[in-house]
């Protein structure tokens, strides 16, 4: 349905267009969205735990976690509220390197990301491994600010950005694909921006 009087004045140039998923627009800023107040997590209080179900596999403190191999990842990110931001530059620890340090192979096909504020989000294991995702510690070379999920956030750039959990404190392997916070509140269980999987019921 064409909207009377609406023109495509903001349509991005074709080269940029190929990088913008359907229904998204290009944003230069970095909007902040979250369901509650911003937790202030001090690095001395920070820890990260890898779990299988309720059972902890390994826990790292801030110093130990920062001693893991750091990888740079520069990616376009896509928020379900329709903004896309190009070339966001992160550094952090690949999920592959976390698993290697714990000395395990992924024990199940699904993961629930856990945050300090109780937020959770589910991601299939295969979307976190093979270099696809990291626990980010730096944004544009500086510590990630609390608003953007610091000290550490998950980065799964090929899925809508609510999957990139802020204030991350653990990854939990689960037997089934268990819906997280937003997935229980009307958002898509997987969240592929290129298939426009925004809400429950989207194909």
């Amino acid at each position: 349905m064409v909207t009377r009087g609406f023109s495509s004045g903001r349509k991005p140039p074709t080269d940029a267009d190929a990088r913008i998923p359907p229904g998204q627009y290009l944003e230069q800023g970095f909007p902040v969205l979250s369901a509650g107040p911003t937790p202030r997590v001090r690095t001395e209080d920070w820890s990260f735990t890898l779990k299988q179900g309720p059972r902890p596999i390994k826990t790292w403190n801030w110093t130990e976690f920062n001693a893991l191999p750091l990888t740079k990842m520069t990616r376009d990110i896509h928020c379900v509220t329709a903004w896309t931001k190009f070339d966001t530059a992160w550094q952090g620890v690949l999920v592959d390197d976390i698993l290697a340090d714990a000395g395990i192979e992924p024990p199940t096909a699904f993961v629930l990301a856990l945050s300090f504020d109780g937020y959770t989000t589910n991601v299939p294991t295969q979307d976190l491994t093979a270099g696809k995702a990291m626990v980010a510690l730096l944004y544009e070379g500086k510590p990630i600010t609390p608003d953007h999920g610091g000290p550490a956030r998950l980065l799964v750039p090929h899925l809508y950005f609510w999957k990139s959990a802020k204030w991350l404190n653990g990854l939990q392997f689960t037997e089934r694909d268990e819906p997280g916070f937003w997935e229980l509140r009307g958002y898509h269980i997987y969240g592929d921006p290129w298939r426009e999987q925004r809400y429950t019921g989207d194909p």
Binding site: M1, V2, S8, P31, P37, T81, D147, R185
Partner: protein
């Protein structure tokens, strides 16, 4: 619409039934859905515009009306000068025009009178919109849940829904309006002439008969960050605070 139920698009065509200017920068658009639209107070919708060449722009807007209003859905849209969709609404859209709408959306920033209270609502600027849906729902249900709204606006003339809020406040039925103007002197019933802070939250909570069961905070990111911190400093547990942040 020719779509059968199996192929029904999540988008529906809605018609602009009425337009009402609220403040110099905020105008309400009353949209008539083409199929049943049930929603909860606090939820939002996505609006989609399509250009002749197929280019589409979509944005999320909170619903200002209460479900009990029936009929139309009210969106109170602030004009953003560098925006793409809000200038369309403010400069072009007319009664009778059609746009596409998807929703209702969001299952966290919502409240129904059966959820109980007391409630502390904190809105900055157009962040009052989803809170208004909650307040109107409470009034329509004649709910006894105590509610305090701390509403921060720059100046008196930018207080969205001002007359309606003052009228609801004057009923003295458990709804209290606390106005904070950031760029003008306080004038009754505007209680404060400063930005929200912990002391303001503490004083506003005294208007409730018991500590809030939920706090809802909505506005710009800077506003929500400051207001949520003020609530925490005033002793409201973070787990009771629900936030909604607008754009940049």
């Amino acid at each position: 619409m020719s779509d059968g139920p199996a192929a029904q698009s999540p988008w529906q065509t809605v018609t602009i039934a009425r337009i009402e200017k609220r403040t110099p920068r905020v105008t309400s658009f009353f949209l008539q859905p083409s199929r049943p639209f049930a929603y909860r107070p606090g939820q939002h919708v996505d609006v989609r515009l399509t250009a002749p060449d197929g280019y589409q722009a979509r944005r999320s807007y909170s619903i200002a009306s209460a479900p009990e209003a029936g009929g139309t859905i009210e969106l109170a849209i602030e004009r953003l000068d560098d925006g793409e969709v809000s200038p369309f609404f403010h400069d072009i859209a007319a009664v009778g025009d059609e746009v596409e709408l998807r929703g209702p959306l969001g299952g966290h920033f919502v409240w129904s009178d059966s959820d109980g209270g007391p409630l502390l609502l904190v809105g900055g600027g157009s962040g009052v919109v989803p809170l208004m849906a909650i307040i109107r729902h409470r009034a329509a249900r004649r709910s006894a849940v105590p509610v305090a709204l701390v509403f921060s606006a720059r100046v008196w003339d930018e207080v969205i829904f001002r007359d309606e809020l003052i009228d609801l406040h004057d009923r003295r039925d458990g709804f209290d309006l606390v106005l904070a103007l950031t760029r003008e002197a306080a004038r009754p019933p505007a209680d404060y002439s400063r930005r929200v802070d912990a002391a303001m939250m503490e004083q506003s909570m005294l208007r409730l008969p018991a500590p809030p069961r939920f706090a809802f905070v909505c506005g710009s990111n800077a506003f929500v960050s400051a207001a949520a911190q003020a609530l925490i400093d005033a002793g409201v547990p973070a787990s009771l605070i629900r936030t909604e942040r607008y754009g940049v």
